[in-house]
C-alpha cells in the first residue's frame, strides 16, 4: 500500500489510543475528530473521573466556592471514544503496538498518544506522609479532602514549599482566615520560577496577608500524636510549630514509570519528543507511531536554544495536544511544529501573576513598567542581551507586547522608554535565580506570523 493510501485508511478506520484522560488527552481527542479521524478512539485514564480542570482546585475549590466535583472540563465537541477510566496503563509493547492495563486487559493501537502528565511529589518520609492531616494537592480527590479539612477550621496549616501551588494554598488559607505557616527552602517564594527580585515581592505579599513565611528553612520532621494525627512540624533552624494540617507542595513527578522497559526515551524528566510531538526511543531515534503531549512531554523549542523544555503549563497541554493530534493524522509534509510560547498565570493574595517565556533562563531582570513596591509592575528578563521572558503583576494587558519581544529576540535591556517607567526601571539587576542552568548559546531564532497556520521560524546566523 502506498503511504498516502495507508494514511487514508488509517484516518478512516484506524485505531488511536490516548493514555491520559486529563486536559491534554481530552483536547487531543476532540482535535482528532475535528481533523476528520473517524476510526476507533480509546481513552485510558487512571483516575475514575472524566477529564477535569486542575487550576480551580487550589483556588475556588479550597475557598469553598466550587465543589471539587464541579470541575469537569467542558467538551468542545462529542468525541465518540471508548473510555477506560479508573484503569492505569501499566506497560507498552512498542513492537506489538499494545498498551497493557492495570486490570489485565490490553488495547492495541495503530497510533498512540501519551499524555499521562505528572503527580504530586509526596513527602519523602513514608510514615510521616501517612499521618492523618498530611496532604498533597494534585487531583480532584486531594482537593475535596483538603477542603473538607480546611472547612473544619484547623488552628494552623503548614504549607511546605512556596512555589505556585503552595503559595495559592497559603492564599486560600488566609482568605479563610486560617493561620498559616509557609516553609520554603529557597530565599523567597516563587524564586525558582521567577527569581529573587520578583520572589521578594511575593514574600511581601505573603507577609502583608498575615502568612508566617519562613524562608531558607527545611522541614526536618513531622510528628504525630498517639492517634496518628499530625500535630507538630520541626524545622532545620531548630524551631517547631504546632499544626493540624500539612500540605506538601514540593512539585511534581512525571508519570513515566509504566514505560520503564518499553524502549521509549522516558524517564524522570519526562518523555523526549521532537518538535512535531513524536516520541524518541532510548536510541534517540524518533518513533513513527507514538506521540506525546502535555506535562509529561519534553520537546525542543527553537526560541530557547532548542533546549528540551518540559512545561507544566495549562496552555501548553492544550496547544501541544492539538499539534500532536494534527500530526497523528497528517502526512509528513503537512505536520506542524509545536512552537508554543511558554505562558502561565497564578492568582494569589488578590494579585494576578502572569508570565511568558522562560524566566529561569535569564541572568538579568528590568522593571520596565510600574513598581515592585506597589505590587503592580511589568518586568522583562534578559539572557545574554536578549529578552527571554517577562512577568506581570496585575498588568496583564501589556504582556502581548513582551511576547513579541521574545519572539523577535529583541535586545535586552530594552533601549526604548515606556509609559510608567520608574527610577527602578532604569538599569537591569541580577534576576536572582538560585541555580541557573544556562544554555550554551543565545537565541538566534525568531518567530513570525499571527496565527498557528502562518507561524514561521527564521534563522539569524550568528554574527561574529
Amino acid at each position: 500500500m502506498s503511504v498516502d493510501g495507508y494514511l487514508e485508511a488509517f484516518r478512516r478506520s484506524g485505531s488511536i489510543v490516548i493514555v491520559g484522560a486529563s486536559l491534554a488527552g481530552l483536547r487531543a481527542a476532540e482535535a482528532l475528530r475535528d481533523e476528520g479521524f473517524t476510526g476507533t478512539l480509546t481513552m485510558v485514564g487512571d483516575e475514575p473521573h472524566e477529564p477535569y480542570d486542575r487550576p480551580p482546585l487550589s483556588k475556588q475549590v479550597l475557598l469553598g466556592k466550587v465543589p471539587a466535583d464541579h470541575t469537569a472540563l467542558p467538551r468542545r465537541r462529542a468525541v465518540d471514544a471508548q473510555w477506560r477510566l479508573g484503569t492505569a496503563a501499566t506497560g507498552l509493547d512498542l513492537a506489538g503496538k499494545r498498551v497493557s492495563l492495570a486490570d489485565g486487559d490490553a488495547v492495541e493501537y495503530d497510533r498512540l498518544l501519551i499524555a499521562t502528565g505528572v503527580r504530586a511529589r509526596p513527602w519523602p518520609h513514608e510514615l510521616e506522609a501517612d499521618l492523618d492531616g498530611v496532604f498533597v494537592l494534585r487531583t480532584r480527590d486531594d482537593a475535596a479532602q483538603l477542603h473538607h479539612r480546611l472547612k473544619a477550621g484547623p488552628h494552623r496549616v503548614l504549607v511546605i514549599g512556596a512555589g505556585f501551588t503552595g503559595s495559592e494554598i497559603a492564599s486560600a488559607c488566609r482568605e479563610r482566615e486560617l493561620p498559616v505557616t509557609v516553609a520554603e527552602r529557597g530565599a523567597a517564594p516563587l524564586v525558582g520560577a521567577l527569581g529573587g527580585v520578583v520572589g521578594e515581592v511575593a514574600a511581601e505579599l505573603q507577609r502583608a496577608h498575615g502568612v508566617d513565611l519562613r524562608c531558607g528553612v527545611q522541614v526536618t520532621g513531622l510528628e504525630g500524636d498517639s492517634a496518628g494525627r499530625v500535630r507538630r512540624a520541626h524545622f532545620s533552624d531548630g524551631t517547631a510549630v504546632e499544626v493540624e494540617v500539612v500540605v506538601v507542595a514540593l512539585g511534581a513527578t512525571r508519570n513515566t514509570e509504566w514505560l520503564a522497559d518499553s524502549g521509549l526515551g522516558a524517564g524522570p524528566r519526562g518523555i523526549a519528543c521532537d518538535a512535531g510531538c513524536r516520541a524518541f526511543d532510548v536510541r534517540g531515534i524518533v518513533t513513527d507511531d507514538v506521540f506525546v503531549a502535555g506535562d509529561v512531554a519534553r520537546s525542543p523549542h527553537p526560541l530557547f536554544g532548542y533546549q528540551f523544555l518540559s512545561l507544566e503549563h495549562w496552555g501548553n497541554a492544550v496547544a501541544q495536544a492539538e499539534i500532536a493530534a494534527h500530526n497523528m493524522v497528517s502526512a509528513s509534509t503537512d505536520r506542524l511544529p509545536h512552537l508554543w510560547m511558554p505562558s502561565f498565570w497564578s492568582a494569589q493574595f488578590g494579585v494576578n501573576i502572569k508570565s511568558v517565556g522562560v524566566p529561569p533562563m535569564a541572568d538579568q531582570i528590568l522593571v520596565t513598567q510600574g513598581s515592585l513596591a506597589e505590587h503592580r509592575f511589568t518586568a522583562a528578563y534578559g539572557y545574554q542581551g536578549r529578552v527571554i521572558a517577562a512577568v506581570t503583576f496585575d498588568q496583564a494587558k501589556w504582556l502581548d507586547f513582551y511576547e513579541r519581544q521574545i519572539e523577535q529576540a529583541a535586545p535586552f535591556p530594552p533601549e526604548f522608554p515606556t509609559v510608567d517607567r520608574r527610577p527602578e526601571g532604569m538599569r537591569p539587576v541580577a534576576a536572582g535565580f538560585p541555580d541557573p542552568s544556562l544554555p550554551s548559546h543565545g537565541p538566534t531564532v525568531t518567530l513570525s506570523g499571527h496565527s498557528p497556520t502562518d507561524r514561521r521560524v527564521s534563522f539569524s546566523p550568528h554574527r561574529a
Binding site: E50, P74, K397
Partner: protein
C-alpha cells in the same frame, strides 16, 4: 453547564464579571475566578459574557456535546 476560561488569554477586562456576576467574579483588580459548572439558568448571561470577552477566553460546552460528556462519567468497554 460546564465552562472553562483560558486564563493565559484573559487580560482582566472583566466584561464577564459585569454581564454574569453570579458566575464570574474579579478577585482583586485583575484575577478572575469563575464557577466551572454554572447553573443552567445562567446560560443566557454566560453566553453574553463569552461573546463580550475581548480575547475570547471563555469556552462554554455546547448543548449537544454536554450529552456526550454525561456519558463519560461511567467507564465502559465497548
Amino acid at each position: 453547564m460546564r465552562l472553562v476560561v483560558d486564563l493565559n488569554r484573559c487580560q482582566g477586562y472583566a466584561q464577564c464579571a459585569f454581564l454574569a456576576p453570579e458566575v464570574f467574579t474579579m478577585h482583586g483588580d485583575e484575577a478572575l475566578m469563575y464557577d466551572p459548572q454554572a447553573d443552567d439558568r445562567q446560560r443566557e448571561n454566560v453566553r453574553r459574557a463569552a461573546d463580550a470577552c475581548p480575547v475570547k477566553a471563555i469556552t462554554v460546552e455546547p448543548e449537544d456535546a454536554a450529552a456526550a460528556g454525561g456519558k463519560a462519567g461511567a467507564s465502559r468497554v465497548g
